[in-house]
């Protein structure tokens, strides 16, 4: 799996390269600034990009902008965005393209190495990996939403885990229920939200998130 990395702090860049390489990923480019990142993404067209939100030269959201721009030029380019803090606003901007292959995680999540690598793979495979913090903030904001209000608390939990990028089996484990029960919840969620169930779980998650951000 070919990876482009955008991270300006040497300490974290080197650590991430070592980590990704150890899990059989090939870091084809590691850049430390916004314009360089955009160039690398467009030329290398990696299987997945791991990108820090804040990059030089402006030290603002340069990484995020480069990721969004790259996805505009290369539709569906999988990008996992990392940051020291998560903003639902940024999540919405990332999701506005309406395509999958997106992740947005706190940098803290890197310490759970296995789940982090899983998230990188999920995003590369076209799925989504939203940070639980983003999900909970979004859900809190939409709690009084008329349509979401129809979901039971359990269904909302399932929805949140779907958004994080969990598979049905993963959700079942996390909630300590059978996969069959999870399937039933999911189909209820889609019925209540007026979405047609499709085979691709990640697409459904994306649809849900897009709905959340509408």
């Amino acid at each position: 799996m070919r990876v482009v990395l955008g991270e300006d702090l040497t300490l974290l860049r080197d650590g991430l390269i070592r980590l990704l390489t150890a899990y059989d990923m090939d870091v084809v480019a590691a850049v430390d600034n916004g314009p360089g990142l955009l160039r690398a993404l467009v030329t290398h067209r990696p299987d997945v990009a791991v990108v820090d939100v804040r990059l030089p030269p402006s030290f603002t959201d340069e990484g995020l902008k480069a990721a969004i721009e790259a996805r505009a030029q290369v539709p569906g380019l999988p990008v996992l965005v990392l940051s020291q803090h998560v903003e639902p606003l940024y999540a919405r901007e990332l999701l506005s393209s309406g395509r999958g292959g997106l992740g947005y995680l706190l940098k803290d999540r890197v310490s759970d190495v296995r789940r982090f690598i899983e998230a990188v793979r999920t995003v590369a495979g076209g799925g989504t990996a939203m940070d639980p913090d983003v999900i909970s903030q979004l859900l809190a904001r939409h709690a009084r939403d008329e349509v979401l209000g129809r979901l039971t608390p359990r269904e909302r939990e399932v929805l949140a885990l779907m958004a994080e990028g969990c598979t049905n089996a993963g959700i079942a484990t996390r909630l300590v229920v059978t996969e069959k029960a999870v399937n039933k919840h999911i189909s209820n969620i889609f019925t209540k939200l007026g979405l047609y169930p499709a085979d691709d779980g990640n697409r459904r998650v994306l649809a849900v998130l897009t709905y959340l951000n509408a």
Partner: protein
Amino acid sequence: MDEGRSVFGRLAQRTLQTCVRGIVQAIVAVAGVPLFIASLISLLSLAAGIGILLAPKSLLAVRGLARGQRRWAREWSRVSIAAPYRPRPVELTNGLIGRLQRCKWLLTDPATWRDLLWLLVNLPAGVVLGLLPAFLVVAGTWTLVADGGTLLFGWWNTAPPGFWGQVFFLSMLPLGVLLGPRLLKAHAQAAASLLAPTREAMAAQVGQLAESRSQAVDASAAELRRIERDLHDGAQARLVSLGMNIGFAEQVLRDNPDLALSLLAEARTSSGQALVELRTLVRGIHPPVLAERGLDGAVRALALSLPLPVDLHIDLAGRASAPVESALYFAIAEALANVIKHSGANRAWVQLEYDSGRLVAIVGDNGTGGAAPGPGGGLRGVERRLAAFDGVIAVTSPVGGPTLVTMELPCELSLART
């Protein structure tokens, strides 16, 4: 009866005090005349050049007298009169240019001219209002004890003043007792009409305050941004890397213990560095020693941490408020940092003292001089920060040295906490 006597005694004392104060005002009013004439001459002599030397001296003497009037008005009559003067320019030197600057500063300040006008107005006002209480009391008392009305006024009216005349003179005593303080107050109010700031001056001051406030806001916003940046790139990043290393080590522990070991060692280093960075950051926000020991201790600690000897002359009887301490501490730190970076000095000194309501810090060095604080430089930041407290900074740095950075902050000291 005792009580009655003490009331009488207090009344007598107050009346006597009022009379004496009135006489003092009258004397000052008369003394203002030679001062007025001297000022007039020194101003006229400006044309001849010599006035450059004389005018500031006489005008500052006028200010001294006006300051006395303001103080008396406040202490004697509870009429508070704010000082209307423009701030003294900070970069005054002793040469000819400095004298010209001083003249300009005084002559362009409308308050200077109002002070002079006050000297003129105060001659009748001070003499009449000042002497009237004493006159009333003395005339009344004299009539009471020695039929003095006749004696006092006999020289212009040979006929004795008759019964109603006696009543008239006698009534002057209670009149003097009752009206005395009011007459003094009337004088203070007359003084306020010329010695207080005009509306325009107040407006100008408000403008100045608004500007220094917005500068202070800018400075603190920049400071917050720096702190956020330091945390983001420093301690926060270290902690992320720490977590990553530990997590990675956890994963490879069984298969590759050597890698796990080295990852853990790295994690330990990372945690140590995160702490160092947090400490540095905290020191940059508010040094712990400043919180614990105040400006005195913090400057001593700062001096110890520097790579060149710093002589300290610190004389503070108490502690200033925390924001003032912090502002002055960072101003001194910046000045000393400049000494190390630019001056080439091998010795520096800091003088820190509190004198008549002002905290004064002077940072000097024996370096090469020629320092010119540029826009965007550290000292500009210091200037903005001090301006928030009405503080000023002045740099004198002739080529060849020595360089002196003087900082002044008006503030109050609380008693030393020991």
